[in-house]
Amino acid sequence: MSLLEINNATLKFGGVVAVNDLSFSVEEGEVYAIVGPNGAGKSTVFNLISRFYEPFSGQIAFDGQNLLDRRADAVADLGIARTFQNIELFDHATVLQNLLVGRHRHRRTNMIEEMLFTPRVRREEHKHREAVERVIDFLDLQPYRNKMIAGLPYGVRKVVELGRALSSDPRLLLLDEPASGLSVEETQDMRWWIDDIRKQMGITVLMVEHDMGLVSGVSDRVLALADGAKLAEGAPAEVQSDPAVIAAYLGTGAV
């Protein structure tokens, strides 16, 4: 059984068919990339998995459980964490606080205990902090620990967002364009991290990415989308040389 299974998902915005009868599955432990031209429905697929959008028809299952039974805020409980294309951090909080919000699904204390700050709350805080510090260590975020997000450069924000997702100890990590807006070096770092996330932490990664260098470097399988439908699926090299994919990117006609 695959970790994430999407069967015949369709989503329409009015007359626009954003995702058209799409089926694919992500196996445990692999890096699966979704590519496609702008407007192909890549981010929409993410928003379907995150339950921000309700599919018109079709099924989405994670580890055998029906995701469509869950509210958007209950998706994280299953161990699905994500980043956003345009960085959605908590701007008026520090890096540390942002990462600690990532631990929210592991919250075990209630409001009253927290107001009194009982010893249990304190112990839990230590645990959360320990988990967050491991992520900080992994992503080399030490210099920024107590900095406000509002003052950080774009590249660092991108890493902090990855860190926030990792802080929740996910089983499946959804990365929405992890390398967009990053320099060549930063993209290279991102590549090592994605590799390590899969190999050391054993986290399955599903990502949307335009940078074909990164995609072919880290991913096991690639799905090419156009107009919300599957064009090709397979190893990176196969997909890149698929005639339908080339046509979608470059167009067809008299060459």
Binding site: V75, N86, H92, L100, R105, R107, E114, A150, R164
Partner: protein, 365 residues
């Protein structure tokens, strides 16, 4: 500049980062406790007023500064707290029971109000809460059998274990009572901020989309913020009733709501200090203004002339100036001054310049 050499996670979790700041707050509290021996009754009353406003400010700060939900209806919650505490006491409940219960009742009302309110955002929420403020006046009149409507109620004597506390005859005891409530509320507030729920509040304020993706239940978190905020405000309302001595349907008008919101903006949104700084401004400004008009009137020989609208005009002007030149409020200005001294002579002019924010994901609502 104090350098913190952190050796344990406790350094970041405990209330005071170092001995120095612990000392500063200890001296502050000690000074506050001995204040009745230093001030005469009039000024002690004014300081009590500041503290009551500060509690109400903490309540609204939790909702507006921390969770990002503007409310112009908090006068209604002050009224609920005030009336419920005094009605409970008239029915024979001792103050020690009636007072916390008044907070709980107000909190429950706040949570109930949150059920429709969590669907509203920004300006629409502000408009809905204005309606609440306007309604409160009428509802108090309509509920005359309990509230005595327009003729109003008188606050009874507070008795705690035989100790009689009243605003006029024992202003020092009343001051200590208010101080104790202030300290407890501040501690609870501060504890929340360093716990998961406080971080969830900030997450809801800054990005509901990613808060949801991290597993934060938006509606529940907002309802919790409303409930806690209103509970604290209710406590302040009850104290306000005892402070005023007498109150009716017009005591908790929409003007109070607006002053409260102004207060936390002037003080500095999103900080505990801001609630206190704002309360000092709101509570002392009318006094300062009347003293100023008296002095100026005396100098030009005009005597005591009441200038209608002077107070609201000055308040409005101050608010506009703050929003234009110091959106972070008095606390923000204080931080800048402190940083300038700490880094002297290396502070740069644009250190606090606000960065342009990057494009946000389209709001998924």
């Amino acid at each position: 500049m104090r350098i913190h050499f952190k050796t344990s996670y406790e350094n970041d979790i405990r209330l005071f980062p170092d001995w120095w700041s612990f000392l500063v707050y200890a001296v502050l509290v000690a000074g506050a406790v001995i204040l009745p021996w230093l001030l005469d009754d009039f000024f002690l009353g004014e300081v009590t007023n500041v503290l009551i406003w500060a509690i109400a400010g903490l309540g609204l700060m939790l909702l507006t500064g921390q969770t990002g939900q503007a409310s112009l209806g908090h006068a209604a919650f002050l009224a609920i707290g005030c009336y419920s505490c005094i009605i409970l006491m008239e029915n024979g409940l001792p103050f020690l029971l009636a007072f916390p219960l008044a907070g709980v009742i107000t909190g429950v009302f706040g949570t109930l109000f949150a059920i429709p309110a969590v669907r509203l955002h920004g300006i629409y929420l502000a408009i809905a809460t204005i309606a609440l403020s306007v309604l409160a006046d009428d509802i108090i009149v309509l509920l005359e059998p309990w509230t005595d409507g327009v003729s109003g109620k008188f606050a009874p004597m507070i008795t705690i274990f035989g100790l009689e506390i009243e605003r006029w005859t024992t202003p020092d005891r009343f001051y200590w009572l208010v101080l104790a409530v202030t300290i407890l509320c501040t501690l609870a507030y501060r504890n929340l901020l360093r716990a998961p729920l406080g971080r969830a509040f900030a997450a809801v304020r800054d990005s509901e989309v990613s808060a949801t993706a991290m597993g934060v239940h938006i509606a529940f978190t907002k309802a919790a913020a409303f409930g806690l905020s209103c509970a604290i405000t209710g406590l302040a309302g009850a104290l306000m009733g005892f402070y005023a001595g007498a109150f009716n349907n017009e005591t908790f008008s929409i003007v109070i709501s607006i002053s409260l919101l102004m207060m936390i903006v002037i003080g500095g949104l999103g900080s505990i200090h801001g609630a206190f700084f704002g309360a000092i401004v709101i509570a002392f400004l009318p006094q300062a203004l009347s003293m100023a008009t008296d002095t100026i009137g005396g100098m030009i020989g005009g005597g005591n002339v009441a200038i209608p609208g002077l107070e609201t005009g000055v308040f409005g002007a101050i608010l506009i100036l703050f929003i234009l030149f110091e959106p972070m409020g008095i606390y923000g200005r204080w931080l800048k001054i402190r940083t300038w001294f700490e880094l002297f002579p290396f502070a740069r002019k644009d250190m606090f310049k606000r960065q342009k924010s990057y494009l946000k994901t389209e709001r998924l609502r």
